[in-house]
């Protein structure tokens, strides 16, 4: 384990930012945390957690796929991608790091999404252990340890120092570059912090939330539950939950005519939107009930069926905080579970 004195934190950031883009949670003018590019003088915020998840780094909200030039009957295809620069994300919490593993299962499964893959390869993740979880946190439900995050390098911020634990070759190399600022350290302060955080995690209101009800579940049984109508009745059909969610990955592909050519881009889409499955010939999900059900069925049932039982949620609590009507995955889980009793 390596130690960096807090006094040297800015020097450490400067060292990294010298060669590659460095992003971290920084408070924006609305008083919210947002991953922003670090520049001299920017201040890391250690609050919990950013409004938008860290998925943007690998799966941005909009991204250009390919350009076309149309001339008469002829079409020219232009792959407009340019080499991406390497970047480092500091301060990713345990839940968000796990979300990358979930996104990997979608985008890196055959056929590989090369846009995503290239970003994954260029990015190095320095995760940060939580010390003051929010009431909305329930990462433990999905087997995530907020005090021991995954990622290329795990870090812990104590009162006077930052501790680093490399967890991959990429992470090892990154720390080596900053070797001069780091010193070997004993891990007891980290252990003490972990102990302290664990006592908070135990006290969280959602500490006992369990996925048991959904394990190896028959999809028709959950799908046909009568509770969906009640759960979805107030849903506004906005995309807030899907857009702040670190694991929601549905996208749309659209064309934009610039007047000089066509840009085909992809952008985040939401299964909560009424036009998500709308076709010229009809619409299989006619009301908000079906759309609402789709989102939670996907996270709690379909995704586990296709991915060895891994759930499509990491318990970051963003949808709990941001839903305009405060309907969320926790309420869905509890209601569906309550039905069985």
């Amino acid at each position: 384990m390596k130690k960096l004195s807090l006094a040297n934190l800015d020097a450490f950031f400067a060292k990294i930012a010298d060669k590659q883009a460095l992003y971290m949670p920084i408070e924006n003018k609305a008083g919210q945390l947002q991953f922003q590019r670090w520049t001299e003088g920017a201040k890391l915020s250690v609050g919990c957690n950013t409004v938008r998840s860290a998925k943007d780094f690998f799966f941005p909200q909009t991204e250009n796929l390919v350009d076309f030039k149309v001339k008469g009957k002829e079409i020219e295809i232009i792959d407009s991608r340019t080499e991406k620069e390497d970047f480092v994300i500091f301060g990713v919490r345990a839940c968000d790091v796990r979300s990358f593993a979930i996104l990997d299962k979608v985008f890196l499964s055959n056929p590989v999404d090369t846009y995503y893959k290239s970003r994954r390869e260029h990015g190095t993740i320095i995760s940060l252990a939580c010390t003051h979880p929010e009431e909305t946190c329930f990462c433990r439900t999905f087997g995530i340890d907020a005090t021991q995050p995954e990622g290329d390098v795990a870090s812990w911020i104590t009162e006077d120092a930052v501790y680093f634990q490399p967890q991959s070759d990429k992470g090892q190399k990154l720390l080596e570059k900053c070797g001069a600022l780091l010193e070997e350290a004993d891990e007891s302060p980290v252990l003490r912090q972990k102990q302290q955080t664990k006592t908070y995690l135990d006290k969280l209101p959602l500490a006992t939330l369990s996925t048991k009800h959904f394990e190896n579940k028959d999809q028709l049984e959950v799908f046909n539950s009568e509770k969906w109508a009640e759960l979805s009745e107030a849903c506004l059909g906005c995309g807030t939950c899907t857009f702040v969610c670190p694991t929601c990955q549905c996208y749309d592909i659209r064309d934009f005519d610039t007047g000089k050519g066509i840009k085909r881009f992809r952008c985040w889409d939401s299964c909560m939107y009424s036009d998500f499955t709308k076709m010229a010939g009809g619409q299989p999900r006619l009301t908000q009930l079906e759309r609402f059900r789709q989102r939670f069925m996907h996270k709690l049932v379909y995704f586990p069926i296709n991915n060895d039982g891994e759930f499509g949620c990491v318990g970051c609590g963003r949808c709990l905080k941001k839903c305009p009507i405060s309907m969320n995955i926790v309420k869905v889980m509890k209601t569906l579970e309550g039905e069985e009793k």
Binding site: F68, Y115, D255, D269, C271, G281
Partner: protein
């Protein structure tokens, strides 16, 4: 599989055949004049005109055709409207093939086959029918029951009359919804016609058509004694990526673009009825 799944190739339209008032069949080759890719009967491809949109279509030509791909497309939305107004020589973009296709080399081999199609539903089946015709010894008897609104709406009518009907060991039963001058064949809806014909229940069924036809035909087949495990169909839902990532074409845990579009009815029975 193409490593750049979302970047299409260019296809050139070399022939446009008017099948019915609202269906045209487009023949597409690559820029080099060769077939753009090989496929399995029942698979689909994404066709697009940049700036207009992209949509998934079944490949109607058989893989045994080594020269080109064909798509029979019914005019019903903005992409298909555009495709219908284009002329020979037009370039479009194409990517694929997507989906699982019919199990022509496994489950269907050696079986007696019954094809049931309604309207444009013949498009995905035509690929299988011609594949079977070209590999005739691998399959048992072939019966085709095909219905449409009117005589003019029968897709590939010429091919049916001139080729399929002349093949030995292929029984073709055509029907149209309403009486029409110049039509001396059967009149009536497909589900009823299937019951009338009372096919051998040992046959394996490949069915495609409008949802309402599928619903009643399936019920009819069951009455006759067919099992869910004997009946295959091919599905369609809205798609954007074609590779199981954009997240919209799922029926329960299965993606139509990746795990489908061909499903057996016993598989569909385990999935939510959301299609």
């Amino acid at each position: 599989m193409n490593t750049e799944a979302l970047i299409p190739k260019i296809g050139v339209v070399t022939d446009i055949r008017i099948d019915t008032p609202d269906v045209k069949t487009f023949r597409i080759v690559g820029l080099d004049g060769k077939k753009v890719f090989e496929h399995i009967p029942g698979q689909c491809a994404m066709l697009s005109m940049p700036g207009v949109g992209e949509a998934l279509f079944s490949i109607t030509s058989s893989p045994t055709n080594k020269d080109f791909l064909e798509f029979s497309i019914k005019k019903c939305g903005c992409v298909t409207d555009w495709l219908h107004q284009m002329e020979v020589g037009q370039q479009i973009t194409i990517r694929g093939p997507y989906g699982n296709g019919f199990p022509v080399e496994t489950n269907l081999k050696g079986k007696d086959l019954l094809f049931i199609a309604g309207g444009i539903g013949l498009a995905p089946l035509r690929s299988v029918i011609n594949y079977v015709r070209d590999n005739r010894k691998n399959y048992g008897s072939v019966q085709i029951i095909y219905g449409s609104r009117s005589k003019d709406d029968l897709v590939d009518y010429r091919e049916i009359i001139d080729e399929w009907m002349n093949d030995e060991g292929i029984e073709v039963n055509l029907t149209i919804d309403r009486e029409q001058e110049g039509w001396d064949g059967h009149v009536g809806f497909v589900p009823n016609y299937v019951k009338e014909l009372n096919p051998d229940i040992r046959k394996t069924v490949l069915m495609c058509g409008p949802p309402i036809m599928i619903k009643f035909t399936l019920a009819g087949l069951k009455e006759l004694g067919f099992q869910d495990t004997q009946v295959y169909t091919t599905m369609e839902l809205r798609m954007k990526c074609g590779i199981g990532k954009c997240g919209r074409c799922n029926i329960g845990s299965k993606y139509v673009c990746k795990d489908g579009p061909v499903f057996r009815f016993d598989q569909l029975g385990e999935l939510p009825n959301e299609y």
